[in-house]
Amino acid sequence: MMARRRGRSPTVDAEIEDLEEMIETAEIMRKEKELVESISEAIEEELKSWGIVEEDFKVDIEEHGDIWWTVIPSKEKKGE
């Protein structure tokens, strides 16, 4: 916890502490994003070297709004 500075009210100190935490979180998120992007690029390169090309999704939903994709084991393979 940040030590209280001379002449500042506890409220201001608490606000400064919150802002510092937000900056720290934003920095961690930025680093995580960079890491995910670099891993994705590395995997993409490896897949290319194996001769596996990009796959078309066949679904024309844009990447916006409240939407997410899941990669799940195929049912056929499990004999369900």
Binding site: D66, W68, P73, E76
Partner: protein, 155 residues
């Protein structure tokens, strides 16, 4: 035999595509995509071997609902039936309203091929989700109009 229970969620199509190909290569298994959303209407039809009659129901639902809740709908053929996916965004409130109305239609005997268990699950979960397995786009509708339909399903 090795069975993977791994599921990977991502908001990026590209990451999903990369992950799918990587896992397939790594484990020698096949994986599917699933799409989930609170802001897109997604419906599942089980045609019980009656594809043409089933498609008539799909068409009616697309025309009626894309007009009442203005939107653009795509229809995908699946091995057992069809999927309808709204490519226009809705609010979950609208999606819920449409799902509840369709469920009522099933209970009243209007819709025969629309999967009621699927709709109930969407309403319970608070979002729609579809497994995208061996799908093929066969029609598009916009605000009550037919934009195009695959030749085998045209009137």
């Amino acid at each position: 035999m090795f069975e993977s229970k791994l599921r990977v969620n991502t908001s990026s199509k590209r990451v999903a595509s990369t992950t799918k190909r990587y896992l397939e290569k790594k484990f020698g298994l096949t994986y599917d995509y699933a799409v989930s959303s609170r802001s897109h209407l997604m419906l599942d039809f089980d045609c019980k071997g009656e594809k043409q009659t089933c498609f008539t129901e799909v068409r009616m639902i697309c025309i009626l609902y894309s007009k009442e809740f203005p939107a653009y709908y795509s229809v995908y053929e699946t091995p057992n039936g069809f999927h309808i996916i709204s490519t226009t965004e809705y609010t979950w409130r609208d999606v819920r309203k449409i799902l509840e109305s369709l469920l009522m239609g099933i209970k009243d005997g209007i819709w025969h091929y629309l999967d009621d268990k699927y709709i109930e699950a969407c309403l319970r979960r608070g979002y729609c989700t579809l497994r995208l397995n061996q799908i093929r786009k066969v029609a598009e509708y916009s605000v009550g109009d037919i934009l195009w339909e695959a030749r085998e399903y045209q009137i």
